[in-house]
Symmetry: C2
Subunit: 220 residues, 2 copies
């Protein structure tokens, strides 16, 4: 199935022309970014955690500490709302009213499930690591059984997901196009600077290419 059927929750209500439901679009946003915000409810009140994630096929993977109360709550399978937002630019219109931002965002509703077996946990952590810093996993000391035990690894189905996208120039009121005001977009991008070596690095190890040339591939 190419598209994810919008549900009452994922159907974009406000500015429906910005809503997109095909898998490719949603996956491209999830594959380009690597930080999400997870919102859920504790005692009737909203809470939110920013955290890293990876996509594994039709599910999202996140991890955290067994010592975290919020993570333990998530692991119980409470309803969650996950948002991934890529900010692409500031949209400068001719009127204050039509100022906007260009962005690509994905929203997922669902319930997280705990990944239990050490083998599956390790594989999920590898995917997480390779999503955020491709190439790093094979260079580092692997998780020990004790480290796996104190790590919660959760998966969330992407069955109920949607994207919302704005691109392009401002859209002004017809009469405003005659105003002598500059209008357009200021593109924004997150870039990596030169790596900073750990001062405690013992041997003068060469900076690996994945750190030296770190960049997120533009997926859409």
């Amino acid at each position: 199935m190419k598209s994810i059927a919008p549900t009452e929750r994922t159907k974009v209500q406000r500015l429906p022309q910005r809503g997109e439901y095909d898998r490719e679009t949603i996956y491209a946003i999830l594959d380009e970014a690597f930080v999400c915000h997870i919102g859920f409810v504790i005692d009737g009140e909203p809470v939110m955690i920013p955290t890293g994630y990876a996509r594994d096929g039709d599910r999202l993977i996140v991890h955290g500490s067994q010592a975290s109360r919020l993570m333990r709550n998530l692991a119980e399978g409470v309803p969650v709302c996950v948002t991934v937002t890529i900010l692409d630019g500031l949209v400068l219109a001719r009127s204050a009213f039509h100022h906007s931002m260009n962005y690509r965002s994905a929203v997922i509703f669902g319930r997280a499930h705990c990944i239990e077996s050490a083998e599956e946990k390790t594989e999920a952590l590898r995917l997480l690591s390779e999503h955020i810093v491709p190439g790093r996993w094979d260079d580092v000391r692997q998780p020990t059984p004790d480290e796996l035990k104190v790590t919660l690894v959760l998966s969330l189905s992407l069955a109920e997901a949607s994207a919302k996208i704005r691109r392009g120039p401002p859209v002004d009121d017809r009469d405003d196009y005659d105003l002598a005001v500059w209008a357009g977009e200021v593109p924004l991008e997150t870039i990596a600077r030169a790596p900073i070596a750990d001062p405690q690095l013992k041997s003068p190890a060469e900076v690996p290419a994945y750190a030296r040339n770190y960049r997120r591939p533009k997926k859409s």
Copy 2:
């Protein structure tokens, strides 16, 4: 009062050494970023909106359309959780387990209030505009009474807020420092590219300096 007394909700539970409660620290994060995620609860389920904001003294200002069901819900004063996250870098440790990110984040709990009078609304919208693109407001067509009417402007007190910050190199297990693995930080930064003029620009207006040289001042 310099510090915001942590409440049960804002006290950083997990890795408490990363929690900060002084106003200067929280304000600096809020003043550098301009996109927040607002989480709240509808029918017992979590929902979340990414949106622009500005700080006005000890309150946060957001706005949205009167036509947005989510915004109207917020305007009713339901409990909200607002998160602002600045990602500063990837922390590459010698073990998979100690990989981390450097970030500065702020969390605010509270209830939003509607700003009602046209005068206060206009001033709040000016602050929002000047926070996101300083210098823009005076160049553009100002909001009309009808535009103000369809715009919801909300304020949220910063009384219940906290910050969580991680900086610096990885922290590895003692034995791992002997491993011949490069370790350190890959700094990340959001930058602006050259402005793209609206193709419908009639006169060849000069790109204003605030768009040509757009950058977020590093506040902390």
